[in-house]
């Protein structure tokens, strides 16, 4: 700002003394053609040279460096423009005989000084605003904890976080930051992961759970084994991925790059041709008019607004996404996400939790729910069937009585039989009970109803009597239905894809409000189904996990990988949702649309500004309404245009996402 202040201080007297018609006493003291006026011009010339040399030196050095590389930039335009104004004035002062008529002998030191002041001010404002666009990534970097408490030789010691190695046992006290990624060994607590995942509610942690570095422990104490340290932590990966995305290019930028490559030399050529036309056909004094038009043309052109239009919006948009736990891999992904019209959701693990759980227990008459669960848990204790885990978890959760059984016998595809004293317990399909001559009676109605809801009914019998039915299902995530409704509100068609049978798939789809279901799809065929949708002319996003769904994620126009805690760098995906919630898809689409809207606004503004400003500067309006732009106004417009582009990009930071409540 020192450079601006110096130029501004010099500009005030130079401007006042340059307009004798506006400031009357100037004309009286310094009459035209007098020696006093020449002396005044000489002083103004020296002051203007000081401004060019001090405040505007970066334009001349930048232009010179550019010329050495045979390239032109904004510095070239400003340097030629202000330099031409100063040289013309110098010639008027020292060599007036060169000018064909006396009224052409005038100085434009005010142009050189004021243009320099305004452009320097614009650049300072632009640098400040540009700093704000990358605030998000700086905030992420600042999250990294500095120290960690680790167990070394049985002692708990504090070490710099860089010294933590994999397999160290790390201690996290209440209210402290989790220093690195790891798996909980001991303790229980809730951890605020909002800074990484965007999830506002603290997440409960107990042994076996994953903790993410840089998140905040709340009330309990935890001990965990470090699994990822240094550059491998989730935070470090996020910072790297966001940085790479911010430096990538939105496809539309490639067109802008071509234009930008020709732009600055084209402006120089336009300015020369403008000079020639005004000299040949313009009013008198032709040389003065031609010079002013050429200088104004150079000054008004703003290659910076063009160059900054997309990178600034991309930086702000990807940063905004990262603060909501959404990692957008590149500008290509962002532009593709804006165009989406169809979202394919994998059922298991995306719409549902991905882990079967007991949802209903229907006991037979005279039997209570806990007894049914207790009998089933006893039978399933040694089973390896996927549904057994759900029954055992539910039994542990409800704290049902454990009973001792013997003679475990599994009948693959049907069920399990064990002995409880002298009586057999049977757990399995209806046919398994029927084969043993057991009639489920009224339980059949309940089982049919549960199956209609997409749940798997498991019959339980003791002795020769049916005791109840347990329903097992993969529960829908709490916010899936609301997120799907929000996606539809955004005008997207939502399609569910699953390997499940049609009945289960339809039931889940009904629950969450999806009307198009592709069921009974083998994992390897998911990519083919995505392709089929694309052949219908749709722009398709696939949402799934990064491992089983990798081919489908890669096939889709945009692949959204549902993150699994610390594993954020999912190769097949264009977008990673760290929190694992479908809400992230809604936010990602909204942010992509807002960012691309911002890119188009900026590009439209930059193209219109240059497209309208350049012809006006060349004097296209002069023959019609007598309007010729002053170089000072051109400098004001030029500075304003680049500041506007950056400020518009910064507006994205205040973008409000749709509320999605579970």
């Amino acid at each position: 700002m020192r450079k601006f202040r110096f130029a501004a201080v010099v500009a005030v007297p130079v401007v006042l003394l340059s307009y004798p018609s506006v400031v009357p006493f100037v004309g009286d003291i310094f009459p035209r053609g007098s020696a006093q006026l020449k002396a005044l011009w000489a002083v103004m010339g020296i002051a203007a040279l000081a401004v060019l040399a001090y405040s505007g030196n970066q334009f001349f050095t930048g232009a010179w460096q550019g010329l050495r590389h045979r390239s032109a930039n904004m510095h070239t335009l400003i340097a030629i423009g202000t330099g031409a104004a100063w040289l013309y004035s110098g010639a008027a002062l020292l060599l007036p005989a060169l000018f064909p008529t006396a009224d052409m002998v005038d100085v434009y030191y005010d142009v050189a000084v004021v243009v320099t002041a305004l452009v320097v001010l614009g650049m300072a404002m632009e640098v400040k605003a540009r700093g704000k666009t990358s605030e998000a990534i700086e905030k992420l970097i600042a999250l990294a904890p500095k120290t960690a408490r680790v167990l070394r030789g049985g002692q708990e010691i504090e070490v710099p976080v860089e010294q933590v190695v994999v397999d160290d046992v790390v201690v996290v006290r209440p209210g402290a930051k989790v220093p690195v990624d790891g798996i909980v060994l001991e303790g229980a607590s809730a951890v605020d992961e909002s800074m990484i995942t965007g999830e506002s509610m603290p997440v409960g942690k107990s042994p076996g759970d994953e903790v993410i570095g840089a998140t905040m422990n709340t009330t309990g104490s935890l001990r965990f084994r470090a699994t990822k340290v240094g550059a491998d932590t989730a935070l470090a990966t996020i910072v790297r991925m966001v940085g790479d995305a911010q430096a990538s290019k939105v496809p539309i930028q490639r067109i802008v790059d071509v234009v930008a490559g020709y732009f600055t030399p084209a402006v120089v050529i336009a300015s020369i041709l403008g000079f020639v036309l005004w000299y040949d056909f313009g009013p008198t004094p032709a040389f003065a008019y031609a010079t002013i038009v050429a200088v104004t043309t150079l000054i008004i052109a703003c290659p910076c607004a063009l160059g900054m239009a997309t990178p600034m919006a991309l930086t702000t948009g990807t940063g905004l996404a990262a603060t909501h736990g959404i990692l957008i891999r590149s500008g290509d992904a962002l532009q593709a996400a804006k165009r989406l019209d169809t979202i394919v959701l994998d059922k298991t693990g995306t719409i549902t939790v991905g882990k079967p759980a007991v949802t209903d227990i229907v006991p037979a008459e005279g039997v209570d729910k806990d007894t049914v669960l207790s009998l089933a848990a006893a039978a399933e204790r040694d089973s390896e069937h996927p549904l057994a885990g759900a029954i055992l978890d539910s039994a542990a959760e409800r704290g049902v009585t454990r009973i001792g059984v013997s003679d475990f016998e599994a009948v693959p595809g049907h069920g399990i039989r064990v002995s409880f004293g002298s009586r057999p317990i049977r757990v399995g399909k209806r046919a398994f009970l029927e084969a043993a001559g057991i009639d489920p009676g009224a339980l059949d109605d309940a089982a049919a109803r549960l199956a209609d809801d997409g749940k798997t009914p498991v019959y339980v019998a003791i002795g020769e009597r049916a005791a109840g039915v347990i329903a097992i299902a993969d529960p829908v995530k709490p916010d899936s239905a609301a997120s799907i409704a929000a996606l539809r509100k955004l005008g997207l068609q939502v399609v569910m894809i699953t390997g499940d049978n049609r009945r289960t798939a339809d039931a889940i789809a009904r629950t969450v409000g999806i009307d198009r279901v592709v069921a009974e799809v083998l994992p390897q065929d998911k990519a083919h189904e995505v392709r089929k949708l694309q052949l219908e002319g749709r722009s398709v996003a696939m949402v799934g996990d990064g491992i089983n769904d990798a081919p489908a994620l890669a096939q889709a126009d945009v692949g959204f990988a549902i993150g699994t805690g610390t594993d954020v760098a999912i190769e097949a995906s264009d977008v990673t949702l760290i929190s694992g919630s479908l809400r992230g898809v809604v936010s990602a689409v909204e942010i992509s649309r807002a960012t691309m809207r911002n890119v188009y606004q900026n590009l439209f503004g930059a193209f219109v500004y240059n497209g309208v400003g350049l012809p006006i500067a060349l004097g296209i309006l002069y023959p019609f309404i007598g309007l010729l732009l002053s170089p000072i106004l051109a400098a004001l417009a030029m500075s304003f245009s680049s500041v506007t582009v950056v400020s518009n990009a910064n507006r994205l930071k205040r973008f409000r996402l749709q509320e999605v409540s579970a």
Binding site: G62, Q65, G66, A260, P265, V268
Partner: protein
């Protein structure tokens, strides 16, 4: 047409053609990155109003390390982007910043500042 107008027209048109030739029709041979002991092809690039050298020739299939050294404070050049290789790096003034990538098939790839104003070229040649 008066003589002064004829002179201005001829000189002006010649200058316009000269500007177009100067900026748009440059041809450079480029500098070949030199091989170093760890298998990398290495080249120092000075960043000052542009990239010197601005055309770098490398051999396909061998890793490349470009060492950028920025010797100016102008904000334009504070980041270098190798979009085709998915690489970018902030360039603090006075610091040597290595950017590594693996050149695939022969072809030409640009490296630019973030705004695309400063440009350089990497020519990947067949091994």
């Amino acid at each position: 047409m008066t003589p002064d107008r004829i002179i201005v027209t001829v000189v002006g048109l010649a200058a316009a053609v000269g500007v177009a030739w100067f900026f748009w029709f440059k041809r450079t041979q480029g500098v070949a990155a030199s091989a170093v002991s760890d298998g990398y092809q290495e080249q120092m690039v000075l960043v000052k109003g542009g990239y010197t050298p601005d055309t770098i020739r490398v051999t396909a299939g061998r890793p490349v390390r470009l060492l950028f050294r920025r010797e100016e404070t102008a904000a334009c050049s504070e980041q270098v982007v190798l979009a085709d290789f998915g690489k970018s790096a902030p360039l603090p003034t006075g610091t040597v910043v290595p950017v590594e990538f693996m050149p695939g098939d022969p072809g030409e790839h640009e490296f630019t500042c973030q705004m695309g104003m400063l440009r350089g070229k990497i020519i990947v040649e067949a091994a």
